[in-house]
Each structure stands twice: as C-alpha cells, then as structure tokens.
C-alpha cells in the first residue's frame, strides 16, 4: 500500500508553522500555485508505521550478509553516524565563516592528510560526491593537464574491458572517446594490446586494481611505463581500495590521479543507494587541477582554498562542499582504525575472500580464476550449471534471498559468463561465510534434483520475481491522484 493510499483530505502529522492570513498577499496570482500539491495527508503514526514497516522489507548489512561484489558492504559503525550527527556539525551552514568552523575544518583537513598517506598521493580534494564524480574529477583533471600543456590531440581514454561501467561513461562525460583494452586469460590486462593502443592520441588509462575480476593486476609497473611513455596519464579507480589498504599504494604503483569510495573502503553507509563520497587524490603533477574547495591550513587556522587560491582547478563540482556529513563519518572511521588498523582491513578482507573462494571450490563451484589468489573479492561462474541444469546465476541469486543472504553481484563483470562477484568484506565472521557456503551447496543440490524450485525463487520475500519487461514497457513511474 502506498502512502498515498493512506491519505485522507485534511489529515496532518506535524504542524511546522502557522502563517498569518495575509502572508502571501504580495505575490501576484499569476505566480501562485492553483491546486495544492498532491502530497499525502497522513497522521504522524501512519507515516511512522508505514515507513518503519517498509524498512523491514529491506535486506541490509545490519540485518543480512550482503556480499555484493565491488560494493564493499562492510559494517557501517554506528558511532560514525552518531558523531557526524552532533548538533554542532548538523547546524553549521556551509557558508558560515571559517572562524566559526575550525572544528569541522580540522576534521576535513586531517582526513585529506590521511588519504594522502594512504594513497601515496600529493594532495586530495574531498568534494566529489560519489565514486563516479571522483572519476569525473580525475579524468577532467587529465584533460585539463593536457590542455595546460597545450596538447590538444589527446582525446582518447583507454579502459580495460573488465572495467566498471562508470569508467567509460565518465570518459565520455569528460569529452573523451573510449578505447577498450582486452583482458588476458589470467585476468590481467593484455599488455600487447595495450602497447598497440597507446599513442599520441592517448590521454590516459583508467584502471581498477585489484580489477573487478577480483585479482591484482600484476603488471601494473609495466602498464604505467607503457602509458606514461606514450605521454598518457594513469587514473586509478579506487573502488577496490579495501583490498590493498596499507599494503600498497596507487601513488607508488605509478598512478597520477585516483578517487576513493569512502562508502566502500571507509565504511560510510550506502543508504539504499547513497549518499557516498568520492574524494580525488593526485600526485604533484596533477594536484593543481584538483576541484575546489579544498581545506588549507595557514598560521591562523584552517580555511577553504577556492578558485582564487587554485587557478588551475577544474572548478567546483557541487554547489557547496560535497557530502560533508559523509566525510565526517569516514574521518571517524579512519581515526578509529589508525595506523595499524588500515592494513588489518586488507588482511581480513583478503582472508575472507580467499577462504570463501576455497570453500566454494571445495563445494564444487568454479572460480573464474582458480589459478589466482583472490583479492578482497572473487568470481565464481555458473556456466556449467546453466548449461547442464538450466539454472542460471540469476536463479542462484534469487534463491539465496530465500535463504537469508543478499545475492552477490550478478552478471558483472560482463567478461565472465553466468558470474557471481562475491565480496564478503573483513567485517563478516567465519560462521557467516560457512553458512553462505552451506546455502549455495543447498541450492546446487536443489538445482540438481528440482531445478524448477530454484528457477521460481524467491518464495519468502514480500514479492516474487518482478515483471521487469512490463515495468519498462508500461512505465508506471509515479502515483497520480485520481482526476477530480
């Protein structure tokens, strides 16, 4: 039932203010709204009950194992939420003078410094509001760099075919064309193809490492060499940073610019789809192009560095300071991990992934890259099951929902047929992983004995499989009031 179905004319929950009768007398009728907005009219209890019950229909980290590959669904510490929600932070206007913002700015400044150390980069801008906007910032910086060099011919961005969809989409948004680089059988970038692809038109390469195939790109030094020699720059997609936190740094690998997904590596919440934060970090060469604002420190305290301070900046990507509240959450998390805690994240994320891969292999499932060590995530392919039993990766995924597990990422990366990309993260315990293996074993058995059972799943969720074709065809995208 929609909240609109609970609506009755004249009902109201919170009365926020009572305006005087004459309040709007100076606004000409022509500019006034004629009919009230078709918003629901419900009591406070109705609203609370409606949305509380809706929330219960979700799977979430707080309720379920959620091994969604490439998304790093780790525990979101409640203390981060609590501290970022302190009234002093929430009540601060983004344009408040810096002399009344030193507490807030100190957090941001220190976060910048920590991210520099973690990434091995020279400077950080915290303003991008998600990974994709971080990518945008980085690729726009590459463009700005070449332009500043007077080099206007570099119009192409190279992207491995395993890359996340945001990479090619970002390159296009930045006005580049995209050339795909194939992956070899071991999951590494095909170096020969890369060598062929580079040239004076090469603006740069976007790379995720470990890649979305769940393996570490072993030839990263050569790749960097090839691209740099050709005059291109290297962009690091930091979505998988959880795998290497404190172990190796993009700056040391030869990357020039990168983003981090704080809502992945730094445990800020995913919020049902956001908000995240995608700070962008750059080496000395690209640092001048970072988007503003950045927090700077002068003798007297912290202050905003803006266009005036950073004339080569690609500018401002949000009207104000990006997702400041998300940054505070990441700051709290980073301070709680501290110097020794960073490497621990990678240690246990990697341990969990390799353990789960080993146990699933043991249970008869096929890792996509059995010859490789897993990073923080890994892929199994259900090609065999799809062929022999007619039960697809999607079927396995749906049946997992019945058994109380969120499904892994399905059909991504597209290179691997019938794949599940599985990322357990470091915050899950062994028992949970073992239960997940048991569930997949059970589904395998069901698929062998009664595939229809699996193909009809889920059975125990608020809805069964949805008609997505109808959704796209009939396009019911908004409730509308009955014509009256």
């Amino acid at each position: 039932m929609l909240i609109f179905d609970r609506s009755r004319p004249g009902r109201q929950a919170v009365i926020p203010a009572i305006a005087p009768e004459f309040a709007l007398s100076d606004i000409p009728e022509s500019l006034r709204r004629k009919k009230p907005a078709p918003l629901p009219e419900v009591s406070e209890l109705q609203a609370v009950r409606h949305y509380t019950r809706l929330s219960q229909q979700n799977f979430s980290i707080d309720t379920h194992f959620y091994p969604l590959g490439s998304c790093t669904m780790k525990y979101n510490p409640r203390v981060c939420h609590q501290l970022a929600s302190l009234p002093g932070f929430l009540a601060r206007h983004p344009l408040a003078p810096v002399r009344g913002s030193q507490g807030f700015l100190a957090c941001l400044y220190e976060l910048q410094a920590m991210l520099q150390e973690i990434t091995g980069m020279a400077a950080v801008s915290l303003t991008p509001m998600a990974g994709a906007q971080g990518e945008f910032a980085g690729v726009a910086m590459i463009r700005a760099y070449h332009v500043a060099q007077g080099d206007l011919t570099r119009r192409e961005i190279l992207i491995p075919d395993a890359a996340h969809g945001t990479n090619p989409a970002t390159a296009i948004m930045c006005g580049f064309t995209v050339r795909e680089i194939p992956t070899d059988q071991n999951g590494d970038v095909d170096l020969a193809a890369l060598r062929q692809a580079v040239g004076p038109h090469t603006a740069g390469l976007m790379l995720t490492n470990p890649s979305t195939l769940g393996v570490f790109e072993r030839h990263i030094a050569e790749i960097a060499e090839i691209v740099h020699t050709a005059g291109g720059l290297l962009y690091y997609d930091g979505a998988n940073l959880n795998a290497i936190l404190g172990k190796t740094r993009p700056g040391d690998m030869g990357f020039d610019v990168m983003h981090l997904n704080l809502h992945k590596t730094f445990a800020t919440p995913h919020g049902g789809g956001g908000p995240g934060a995608g700070p962008v970090a750059a080496n000395a060469r690209l640092a001048p192009f970072l988007p503003v604002p950045i927090v700077g420190q002068t003798g007297g305290g912290y202050r905003w560095l803006t266009e005036a301070d950073r004339p080569q900046s690609i500018g401002r990507l949000s009207a104000f300071m990006g997702n400041a509240g998300v940054l505070l959450r990441a700051y709290v998390y980073a301070r709680m991990l501290g110097r020794t805690g960073m490497g621990r994240v990678a240690d246990y994320a990697t341990l969990n992934a390799n353990y789960l891969q080993a146990e699933l292999a043991n249970a008869g499932f096929d890792p996509a890259f059995p010859q490789r060590l897993a990073s923080h995530e890994f892929i199994i392919t259900l090609k065999r099951q799809a062929k022999t039993l007619g039960v697809t990766a999607m079927d396995f995924a749906k049946r997992l929902l019945d058994l109380g597990f969120h499904a892994p990422t399905t059909y991504f990366p597209m290179l691997v047929p019938e794949c599940l990309l599985i990322e357990p993260t470091e915050t899950e315990c062994k028992e949970e992983l073992d239960a997940f293996v048991a569930a997949l074993r059970q589904i395998q058995q069901e698929a062998e004995t009664g595939p229809e059972q699996v193909k009809g799943a889920p059975y125990h969720r608020p809805v069964r499989r949805l008609d997505e074709v109808r959704a796209a065809r009939d396009m019911d995208l908004a409730w509308r009031p009955a014509a009256s």
């Binding site: 949305y51 030193q102 990263i220």
Partner: protein
C-alpha cells in the same frame, strides 16, 4: 580488533582451508617493490570513547549562530521522526536495490519520492536523485542538449540571477562536452530577468533557457513569459526551483503554455540539515517524452510472478552499468538516504504543512525586511516580490556589517560584493519558519546597532 570478528582460531582454520601459511602470503601477487610496510603519517588508533570525545569537542568548538543566511541552503525545522526512521539500519546500511525482492522497502520509498516530486513540480517523471542542486543542473543541461531535437546548439542561456555556485558547478561539468553557458543580464530595479534581456538572442539557436524560481536574489521571475519565449525559440525550458517554494508558487509543469521541459534543484530544504554543505540531494523531473534521456535511477511499479504489485529499478538501459559509454550519465551511487528523509519529511508535513512552511518563510522575510528597512540607509535593492530571501542595500560594506552581526551571535546573510559587484554594498538575507517574531526583532535591533 575493531570491526574485525576473527579469532586466532578462525584465522588458523581459514588459512588451512586456503592452504596458505599466513595472511601475508595472500598478498604474494603484489610485486614486492610496491609493498608498503607502514603508513607512518597516520595517527594511532582511537577507541570509540576517545573519538567520541574528540568529535564532541570539535562540534562544540563551532559557535551556533542564529542563522539568517540562505543563499541556496535553508534552515528548516525537520520533524523528529524523519531521521529517526531514515537512520534505521535497514535504510542506512542497504545499497542500491539491485535485487528488488530484497529491497522493496527502499524501492517503494523511491517510487513514493518520485511521485511526490512529480506532483510538487507538476511534471510527469522524477528520477530517484542526483548528487546536489549544482550537479543536477549540469545533468539537466546535458540532458537538454541530448533531448532537444530541434536544436543543434550546445549553447544555453542562463540568467545572471541564477545562483553563482550553480553556474560554476554546471560550467565545470558541462564544458568538457563543449556546452557553453551564455549569461543573461538582469533588471537592476526588479532583480529579475526581463524579456528585454532575452531580446538580443531571439532567433539564435540555443538548446535551452534556464529559469530559476525564485532566483538567487529571492526574486520571483516571470516564469510564464520566459518559458513561452524559450519554446518559441525551440529551446527547452529548464527550471531550477526551490521545492519548498513550490507549495505556494506555480509548478513548472504549468509554466507558460506548455510547461517547463526539465526541472531540477536541490532537495536540501526537504529534510536535510544544513550539515556544512551536504549531503543534500539533487532532484530532476521532466516531461514524459524525455524520460529516456534522463540520467539517474528510476523506479517503476510492476507486478510479480503472482500478479502482486511490486517495485523495481527500470529503464536501466539509460545507465552506465548497462550502457557504459552510451549511458545518459556516469552517475551510479546517488543520494538515496537523503531521498528517504525527504519522503518522510513530505509525508509528515503534507501539502498543508509545506504550504505553511513556505508561507511562514515568506511572511517572516517580509516582516524582517519591513523592520530593517526602517534603519536609515538600509533599503531593498529590488522592488519585485520575493519568496523568502531578499537583497538589501547597506550604508556600509556588507562584510563589515556581517562581521558586526557575527560578533553579536547572528549569521546575518550573504555578502554579495564579490559575486555581484554591480550591486554595491549589498547582502542577501533569509528568514525561514525557524524564526519567530522575537528573532526578527532581535535581528533588526542588532543590525541597527551595527550599522
């Protein structure tokens, strides 16, 4: 170990299952030359108690001024239930509803949100959010260029009355694809964008005209005339609106003869605290015909195998995870939780509530202006009606005046001198429904002493 559940027994058993001697051995594929042993610049770990204390001290270090500053971000009362429920783990710690059967909560909330925004703006469709108002404008303009079949241009007309930060953000994003913003002058008496300002561009090819309602000065634009002008010129009309204001102002869907084509803005006034700049959320609505050019996620209502209604992401072929380089945008993670809060906010205050908020803001700003324009040397810069923000001319530089107010505990407004030097000594002031008559009085009295 904070957040790590592994016991030493677990580690031993897990390594044995993997067949690895140590955790370290799992990193063998990283070239040794690239390994780091330590991150010495990082501070030592703090426990929860220590960080709680540090953050409490930092939050308390920043004074809580009485806020009369708007300029795109507005202090509103947020009903307590909004964040009590939006903060529930099931909303807070879920992700994009890729598995609809396990995410009906989030999906239905998004569908309801889309419905509310469509209703508020008078448009057919709303997406499920973009990052913020500034970047939403950029996406709206990229969309307009894609969608406008009648124009080959990448040029967009935008009035100088549009929020300067929005113009900067949009430029930073769209210029990479060759889009260009052409600035329209405004009327120095009215503070609005008169048709006269458009006249020089009649007959030229533009993809779109941007119409802000209210504009950055708080002034109400002649939206009907502007919309019709755009349409006569084969340009799309892109509205940038304050969603609170739409409770009392005509919705873009009804502007002019056929309505605006695309509507965007920042959803912050709908349940997001000021919070130092974010997270807020960008909203984007459009006419039905343009939906396939829309960036961002969309939720649709459909039925399940048993014919039971349910919700799912739809039209994903617009998106990067399906269409990659051919997507309408690179956006992936959006601002879901803020949208959840906005949905709760709108459900809790309802249509009358939003109207009361808007009307009270307006009345408060009127009352404030009335009081402070009694002060010699203080006058309204523009003579046209405003929503809840207005430009005041001052007898001294705005910066000095604002400093004086700050010292007396008042965050008094926005100094316009760097963005609008042509206005001279002027500031932008806002009084929302969070102020009562005593606050307004206090502001007026304090301003009088400061000037």
């Amino acid at each position: 170990m904070p957040f790590i559940p592994h016991t030493s027994d677990d580690v031993r058993a897990m390594l044995a299952a993997i067949g690895a001697p140590t955790i370290e051995a799992l990193f063998a594929e990283i070239p040794p030359a690239l390994r780091v042993a330590d991150l010495p610049a990082l501070p030592d770990a703090l426990n929860e108690r220590q960080i709680a204390r540090l953050m409490a001290e930092r939050a308390a270090a920043d004074p809580q001024w009485r806020c009369f500053l708007g300029a795109g971000v507005y202090e509103h009362h947020i009903p307590a239930a909004v964040w009590e429920i939006a903060g529930r783990g099931e909303f807070y710690s879920a992700y994009t509803p890729y598995q609809p059967e396990a995410s009906q909560g989030t999906l239905q909330v998004l569908y309801e949100y889309q419905s509310m925004m469509a209703g508020l703006t008078g448009m057919a469709v709303s997406n499920a959010s973009l990052y913020d108002g500034g970047s939403a404008l950029a996406e709206a303009l990229l969309m307009a260029v894609r969608a406008n079949r009648k124009s080959k241009s990448k040029r967009i007309l935008v009035s100088r009355t549009l929020h300067p930060y929005y113009r900067r953000a949009a430029h930073a994003i769209i210029h990479n694809q060759g889009l260009e913003l052409v600035e329209l002058a405004y009327d120095l008496t009215g503070g609005h964008t008169p048709e006269a300002a458009l006249a020089p561009y009649a007959g030229q090819d533009f993809a779109a005209l941007v119409i802000a309602q209210p504009n950055f000065f708080g002034v109400l634009e002649e939206v009907d005339a502007l919309t019709d002008w755009a349409h006569r010129q084969n340009a799309l009309a892109v509205a940038v609106v304050n969603p609170t204001a739409l409770a009392i102002l005509s919705p873009p869907g009804t502007w002019g003869v056929t309505g605006a084509d695309i509507v965007c803005g920042d959803g912050q006034p709908l349940g997001a605290p000021l919070s130092s700049g974010g997270p807020y959320f960008g909203f984007l609505c459009c006419r039905q015909e343009l939906v396939r050019q829309m960036p961002g996620r969309l939720v649709g209502r459909t039925v399940d195998l048993d014919g039971k209604p349910g919700f799912t992401l739809t039209l994903q072929a617009r998106e990067q995870h399906i269409r990659r380089s051919k997507a309408t945008s690179n956006i992936c993670t959006n601002q879901g939780l803020m949208v959840t809060a906005a949905t709760l906010y709108l459900a809790l205050i309802g249509p009358q509530g939003l109207e009361q908020v808007a009307a009270t803001c307006h009345a408060n700003t009127r009352s404030l202006v009335e009081q402070i324009t009694q002060i010699p040397g203080v006058s309204r810069a523009f003579d046209r009606p405003v929503f809840h923000e207005t430009v005041l001319k001052l007898p001294r530089p705005a910066q000095a005046v604002l400093e004086g107010l700050l010292e007396r505990g008042i965050l008094g407004g926005f100094d316009l001198s760097s963005d609008y030097p042509e206005l001279g000594q002027a500031m932008l002031v806002c009084a929302t429904e969070t102020k009562d008559e005593m606050d307004l009085c206090h502001y007026a009295k304090t301003l009088a002493t400061v000037i």
